[in-house]
Symmetry: C2
Subunit: 118 residues, 2 copies
């Protein structure tokens, strides 16, 4: 059901999920300790403030985002990177349509349909 541990995840072959509210995501390479997820945001889409026990890096591939991490806010653009330690509250507001690459450690089992019984 999943591509766990698969070495090659080609963009054209991996489904893109529409999460609604202007956000779509594609689960890319992942194993037990690491998971890469590409996320498309429409302008004004919001990744609401939340926290999880996974460490996270968000790399800005394109667009412009206002990120909040642990209460500190910054505008980030293509080439910039955000790091959220495990348990730290973070979120983002998309200021100009774009794409993030989010990478988590350990993997987000909750992102995989098989783990949710779907």
């Amino acid at each position: 059901m999943t591509n766990k541990n698969a070495p090659f995840l080609l963009s054209a072959e991996v489904p893109v999920e529409d999460l609604g509210d202007g956000i779509r995501r594609q689960i890319l390479g992942h194993g037990d300790t690491l998971m890469a997820v590409r996320v498309w945001f429409e302008t004004e889409a919001v990744g609401v403030l939340h926290s999880h026990p996974h460490a996270q890096v968000s790399y800005v591939e394109s667009g412009e985002f206002e990120f909040s991490v642990g209460g500190e806010k910054r505008i980030v653009k293509a080439g910039d990177c955000v790091y959220a330690e495990p348990g730290i509250e973070h979120g983002a507001v998309c200021k100009s349509k774009g794409v993030l690459l989010d990478v988590f450690s350990p993997m987000r089992e909750d992102f995989l349909p098989g783990e949710q019984g779907a």
Copy 2:
């Protein structure tokens, strides 16, 4: 000396290291369990076959690469992703100048100057 655990790593503020042989890198967000590294390759630059105990995802931001993972070779382009399990031999040959985002778990302490006594 390092940006370990820093929430915001802005591309314009983070040094880019020239590793020679057509490869440059920039250490982005990282903590104990995760490290993001942006790597620029000139055409024909080679990331030689190697392995390490860290899991790795390589996301292709631009360009074209022939990746090898565990003996399997594929051509990957913008939007594609490669995953190498811990201990699996992997490497890449740049076919057309481009940029990878490599993310490791745990962090690559050997990439930080302070850890090498430099």
